[in-house]
Subunit: 182 residues, 2 copies
């Protein structure tokens, strides 16, 4: 409901109607509107925790690592971004979600750290240029995924951003040590 009609239309009445129960049941289970929304958010943010917990295997092929992580991240963001945007509609909700994310240490910095650590290990093993900044490139990679997912939320007709594959190709090429470029 949040995704296609917006959180403003997410009333107890509508939820009850869609669930085929009475309005009072909604309040019985979730206490109040805030409790209902909090439950929605905690449920919706779960996959993001799963992503944060899933590590990136060191030593693996860069293209494979980035493809898997990027696709997974974008998929999760597609599900989660509408909720994050919705939470901005009310200060109380926003602060509550902020506290939840702080408590579970969620945020883009997790992706930057995961991919950055991987890049740094590759570099230490001599599989990346010396002037390749692991965390700066990781930040850009996460940023590209984030922006692509954000733009899908308000789909503008026939305007496409560069596909993930092209971004990954570019990173792989740029990180390759001199004289051994792909």
């Amino acid at each position: 409901m949040i995704r296609d009609r917006g959180i403003a239309r997410l009333t107890a009445r509508e939820v009850a109607g869609l669930a085929g129960v009475s309005e009072a049941s909604v309040f019985y289970h979730y206490k109040d509107r805030f409790g209902l929304l909090q439950a929605v958010f905690e449920e919706g943010l779960k996959p993001l925790r799963a992503l944060a917990e899933g590590g990136v295997h060191p030593g693996a092929d860069p293209r494979e690592v980035l493809t898997l992580y990027g696709n997974t991240l974008e998929e999760f963001l597609d599900g989660v971004l509408p909720l994050i945007a919705a939470a901005q509609s009310d200060a109380e909700l926003r602060d509550s979600m902020e506290a939840y994310m702080a408590e579970h240490d969620l945020g883009p910095h997790r992706g930057v750290r995961a991919i950055g650590d991987y890049f740094a290990a590759e570099q230490a093993a001599g599989r990346a240029r010396a002037d390749f900044d692991p965390y700066a490139v990781a930040m850009m990679f996460i940023g590209a995924c984030y922006t692509r997912a954000s733009q899908r939320e308000t789909p503008l007709p026939s305007i496409a951003l560069p596909p993930l594959e092209r971004i990954i190709d570019s990173i792989v090429a740029l990180m390759a040590p001199a004289g051994r470029s792909v």
Copy 2:
């Protein structure tokens, strides 16, 4: 009001109180709540149009170009992102803003195009590696700015993403032709 209390609390009554006029005046000038919000959005999106119109000078120093564009973009996003998020709270608002952005051809693709074109020109002039993909790197740069600005919206304590300067340094180093690395 949207920025610090959320769009849900942006009622005609509150606006009137803050403006020191009566509630009826608000409706007289903006017809209805939708008209009021539309006016807010059109006003708030103006700086974004200005950025889209301001070109990037070809031939200029990469570090200067990226620093100016990146800072300007982040500054504008800081002002505009709360509005974009707020518009997601209601389907009607969201569609209206989407139409506005489509009409004026706004969106991250504009930044990718502007910076990508600049990179492509640098490459054509021999000032960038051959295996440097102008538009992929532009996408990552815009993405980093976008993500940094987005994260500032819900400030999580003591968690910092890599600063813009470090990202720019990284790009400058990576684009430098072999044998002439910075």
